[in-house]
């Protein structure tokens, strides 16, 4: 049983008055103190009747259909979905049963993650629930930010009518859900590899090889199959054997690097570099996978988390899940990441780096190495300076100084042959990509 501030004040006042009354031999003070104490004691006795004495169990351990029981109060929860995109909605229905034969006044709060907004209904309910009765609470939550979240536990409070004491326990009922970063349509901002892979695929790369589309004519070389000889062209070339060359069908390997170091969360919770980077990575992934390209993801922060290249819808959800769980932690330099992944990527594959380009002295070296190995590097840099300046966290002078340094760094990276775009907060991803590609 917990004391409220009111009861604490009443108790201290009554004790003080009682002692003072004895010292001053003042019956009036002692009488007031005794009445106050009696008042408190009776309220405490009434509150102790509140029937919440157990801590419950996690839902996995309980039988799902029966819900989770806290003595005679049972809670069951249903959610409309367990996977949703940012700015999506989840409908939650909480069923509360009173299995005892007595009515109870309950204050009930279904705990939702702090970043979520209650759009409809209420997750905080004060109610009287009759004996052997059940009631249902429905509410809708909005999911503004990506991540792994849990709804629960259900906090139940039984309070005396005068608000002096309360018993508070939690029904350990949890429902997990996943919020994926939202995606933007970027189908026109194309990034394509010039180097093919051995697998046939959807994206035609303008290099000769074993494909179906005609590419070129060339002279016959020993070893060319007879069926490739173009007899008409041979006849026109005065006896020089000519063979058809075909465009090689191939799948691009697109590697997306997402910077999730702690510096990437500089700025407001919903407007920072990491939020923008994950949304961009999700959009790019969807775009390339829809073209049947192969996409791989590397998220680096305190550790390097990678998703191996693959194609298909399953890969999209694998990547989205990793992006949803990206946390701003650590300070792994880009150089370490590129050194580790370079041996595993096909030379010439496009690499897209999503980073605020801050607090990492190895960026230039890393990009130089990538360019030296003929990787096509595109850097999209959500500017945390803009986020902070918009949120009035840095002043104009500081902003100008830092902005100049950032511009110098970007110029240097462009000089290395990378496509670099300073992605300002109000800019659409498509526009930023187009800028980065120089379209």
């Amino acid at each position: 049983m917990a004391w409220s501030r009111k009861s604490a004040m009443f108790a201290s006042l009554s004790v003080a008055m009682y002692l003072l009354g004895l010292v001053l031999r003042n019956q009036q003070l002692v009488t007031v103190a005794v009445v106050l104490l009696s008042f408190l004691t009776w309220a405490a006795l009434r509150t102790a009747h509140g029937d919440v004495a157990s801590s419950g169990r996690r839902v996995e351990e309980a039988v799902m259909d029966e819900g989770v029981e806290l003595q005679s109060i049972v809670a069951m929860r249903k959610t409309s979905t367990s996977r949703v995109f940012e700015d999506g909605e989840i409908d939650v229905t909480l069923r509360i049963q009173n299995r005892s034969g007595m009515a109870k006044v309950l204050e009930l709060r279904d705990r939702v993650p702090e970043v979520m907004r209650i759009k409809k209904g209420a997750n905080y309910v004060l109610m009287e629930i009759g004996p052997k009765r059940e009631t249902e609470i429905s509410y809708t939550i909005e999911t503004p930010l990506r991540g792994f979240y849990t709804i629960g536990p259900v906090c139940i409070r039984v309070q005396d009518e005068l608000g002096l004491f309360h018993n508070e326990k939690e029904v350990q009922l949890y429902d997990d859900f996943l919020v994926f970063p939202k995606m933007e349509d970027i189908k026109d901002a194309m990034i394509k590899s010039r180097v093919p892979k051995i697998f046939t695929g959807a994206v035609n790369i303008r290099n000769p090889g074993e494909g179906s589309n005609f590419y070129n004519l060339r002279e016959y070389l020993p070893g060319d199959p007879m069926r490739k000889i173009n007899w008409k062209a041979t006849a026109r070339q005065d006896g020089k054997m000519m063979v058809n060359e075909f465009e090689r069908d191939a799948v691009s390997d697109v590697i997306i690097l997402v910077d999730s170091r702690s510096v990437s969360e500089t700025g407001p919770v919903s407007r920072n570099s990491l939020v923008y980077s994950t949304r961009a990575a999700a959009s790019l992934t969807q775009h390339f996978l829809s073209r049947r390209d192969s996409v791989g993801l590397v998220v680096y922060g305190d550790e390097i988390v990678s998703v191996d290249r693959d194609t298909g819808k399953k890969q999209l959800y694998v990547i989205l899940t990793k992006l949803a769980g990206a946390m701003a932690k650590g300070n792994t330099p880009l150089k370490i990441v590129t050194t580790r992944i370079m041996p595993h990527i096909h030379r010439g594959s496009p690499i897209i780096i999503l980073s605020p380009l801050e607090d990492d002295p190895t960026i230039v070296d890393a990009v130089r190495d990538l360019r030296a190995r003929n990787f096509e590097v595109t850097i999209l840099s959500p500017s945390s300076l803009e986020f902070e300046f918009d949120a009035r966290r840095i002043d104009r002078t500081g902003y100008e100084v830092l902005k100049t340094e950032r511009d110098i760094l970007m110029t240097e990276l462009r000089g290395l042959g990378a496509y670099v775009m300073d992605w300002e907060p109000d800019m659409l991803l498509f526009t930023a990509l187009a800028g980065a590609r120089g379209f």
């Binding site: 003042n26 009488t31 102790a48 109610m127 009518e161 500089t266 949120a391 966290r393 830092l402």
Partner: protein, 308 residues
């Protein structure tokens, strides 16, 4: 190369070898090197609420710092109730609390302006009533707190064990005197409870109307409060009566064993004085402590559940 201070600055050194600093400097470092008057906006420094010692004792802010919506019917009823109990309490305080024995009476007497002591006394009662009225009506906790303090302060006085009243025509009968004291104490507690309930229900009403909380069956919940407001002070009054009339109840039991000792106890100055009340309090609260020790409330609860 351009001369220093003239024309464009040569930045070629930035691109030579390993001396290139390739990232923007840390924001923390920049903040650390800025002067105090460099215009860092106030919101760049997070606000940290450090509780004062009173908040620390009570586990949070004592006064509610929140704007309420206009009062609903329940709050208005409570306001009326609080004002009604305040008026009765003010009158009881005026009747039962003499100026003699108070600190201001002593001081003004020493200064030779004894009449001023009475005025101070009346002024304090008036402050208690007026600030209470204002606090309840405006739902201002500071004014309520001032009212509580003023009404309690006027009762603090050096007094003999004998009960004294502010008005001379009040009865000298001990039973009636004690009952009047209990009535006064009950009204003080009821006033404190209802006035704090005005704030509590205003908060609840505001939360309901702003959609923070949903209340199912508001009427049954307010009915429960009204019932509790009826019987809780009554129970407190009964317990206080048992405590204050210990000089009647103890001899009653002793009489079974020894009538002479019982008579002596009835006449005992100690038992009729404030120390008798203290003894009564100890006896009554020992019984209550025993009830808690054996977890009687839970057992009653379990019994009622089984019966239901």
């Amino acid at each position: 190369m351009a001369e220093q201070g003239k024309g464009p600055v040569d930045t070629s050194h930035l691109y030579d070898g390993k001396v290139v600093r390739s990232s923007a400097p840390s924001r923390k470092k920049a903040a650390g090197t800025m002067k105090a008057d460099s215009g860092i906006p106030d919101d760049a420094v997070p606000e940290v609420a450090i509780p004062n010692w009173i908040d620390a004792i009570f586990g949070g802010p004592v006064l509610v710092n929140r704007e309420f919506v206009s009062p609903n019917k329940m709050v208005l009823t409570l306001q009326m109730g609080a004002i009604g109990s305040l008026l009765v309490l003010g009158f009881l305080t005026f009747m039962l609390t003499p100026v003699s024995g108070t600190a201001w009476f002593a001081l003004t007497n020493i200064a030779g302006i004894g009449f001023l002591g009475l005025w101070v006394h009346l002024l304090m009662i008036l402050i208690g009533v007026v600030s209470g009225f204002w606090g309840v009506w405006q739902r201002d906790q500071r004014a309520m707190l001032l009212s509580y303090v003023a009404l309690i302060l006027v009762t603090i006085r050096f007094a003999g064990s004998k009960v004294e009243f502010g008005l001379s025509f009040l009865p000298e009968n001990e039973v009636i005197q004690k009952l009047l004291l209990i009535l006064y104490a009950v009204f003080l507690v009821v006033y404190m409870e209802i006035s704090s309930a005005v704030i509590r229900f205003s908060m609840l009403d505001t939360s309901i109307r702003t959609g923070e909380v949903y209340v199912m069956n508001v009427k049954s919940i307010t009915d429960r409060y009204n019932r509790a407001l009826g019987y809780t002070p009554a129970v407190a009054a009964v317990v206080a009566t048992l405590t204050l009339f210990i000089n009647f109840f103890v001899p009653l039991f002793v009489r079974i064993l020894d009538p002479i000792a019982a008579n002596r106890l009835e006449e005992s100055v100690e038992l009729t004085s404030v120390y008798g009340v203290a003894l009564g309090t100890i006896l009554v609260f020992i019984v209550i402590a025993a009830m808690f020790a054996i977890n009687l409330p839970l057992r009653i609860q379990q019994y009622l559940e089984r019966q239901a």
